[in-house]
């Protein structure tokens, strides 16, 4: 991971951990998946930053990079696909911390401009193990950085 992606992932992880959601472990992984067949360690919130980044040149000396990431609540019992009021509440708390309070949450991420909440998945849900429930919140962080010289 590049330094910017690491900083974004750590900033989000810290913000979600600060919520102290009951019984929830917050982890960073490349994709929001957990090992198939075991529900140990659940519920989890998985922070995943996509490695491919949209980049465009902005001026002669700067570039704009857009990092997509997901904050996924993973709970056991995927086969039932039950609607879960607790997960809904957690989603709103996470969104408040990550999106509404983005200026504070990403204050240590150099070049951070703003965050956009996406309406669709950052990772392919079909590729994730079916044993569990996945409830993703998807975002795009925009950074403006200097071009390498």
């Amino acid at each position: 991971m590049s330094a910017a992606a690491t900083n974004i992932a750590n900033a989000v992880k810290t913000a979600v951990e600060a919520l102290s959601l009951a019984g929830v472990t917050v982890v960073r992984r490349k994709t929001p998946s957990v090992p198939e067949g075991t529900s140990a360690g659940l519920p989890q919130v998985v922070v995943s930053v996509r490695e491919d980044v949209e980049t465009e040149r902005l001026t002669a000396v700067t570039k704009r990079r857009r990092f997509r990431f997901a904050v996924t609540i993973v709970t056991a019992g995927g086969q039932k696909l039950a609607d879960d009021d607790t997960v809904h509440t957690w989603r709103e708390s996470i969104d408040d911390a990550v999106f509404d309070k983005q200026r504070a949450t990403f204050s240590a991420v150099a070049g951070f401009i703003h965050l956009k909440a996406l309406g669709g998945p950052v990772f392919d849900p079909a590729a994730l193990p079916k044993d569990f429930n996945y409830s993703p919140l998807s975002y795009e962080a925009e950074l403006i950085e200097s071009l390498a010289t």
Binding site: T59, A60, V61, T62, H114, K116, I144
Partner: protein, 127 residues
């Protein structure tokens, strides 16, 4: 023959480089109509050059267009417009800054300053 990327374009205002998203330099002539019996259609002749320019500047709190680069409405400045990756430039000497517009979009953009100016003597790029 070579075509060049527009990236690398900037404005040198006096001694200060201002990095821009977009710069435009319009080479105009002020024309007067001189249609007369010796011509078979309408006829316009040049009076004076009447160039104009504009730039979209991402607002940099360490290099402000007005305070640091001297682009203040009404000021006369000399601007060298770097032409992307070509290595060439064109210059407007003694051009007047006409307007600056600070654009502050809450919904999804960085702060930008849109600058316009008119007049000045043009030095063209050469092959």
């Amino acid at each position: 023959m070579a075509n060049w990327s527009g990236n690398g374009s900037s404005m040198l205002v006096g001694a200060v480089t201002l990095h821009c998203r977009l710069t435009r330099l319009r080479k105009n002539a002020r024309l007067t109509e001189n249609t007369h019996s010796g011509v078979s259609s309408s006829n316009y002749d040049k009076v004076v050059p009447d160039h104009s320019w504009s730039a979209s500047v991402p607002w940099d709190d360490a290099n402000l267009p007005d305070t640091d680069a001297g682009l203040v409405e009404g000021a006369k400045v000399t601007i060298v417009f770097a032409m992307g990756a070509s290595g060439k430039s064109e210059t407007l000497t003694n051009t007047t800054v006409e307007s600056l517009e600070d654009v502050m979009d809450n919904a999804g953009d960085i702060i930008r300053t849109e600058v316009t100016g008119r007049g000045g003597a043009l030095t063209r790029p050469v092959t």
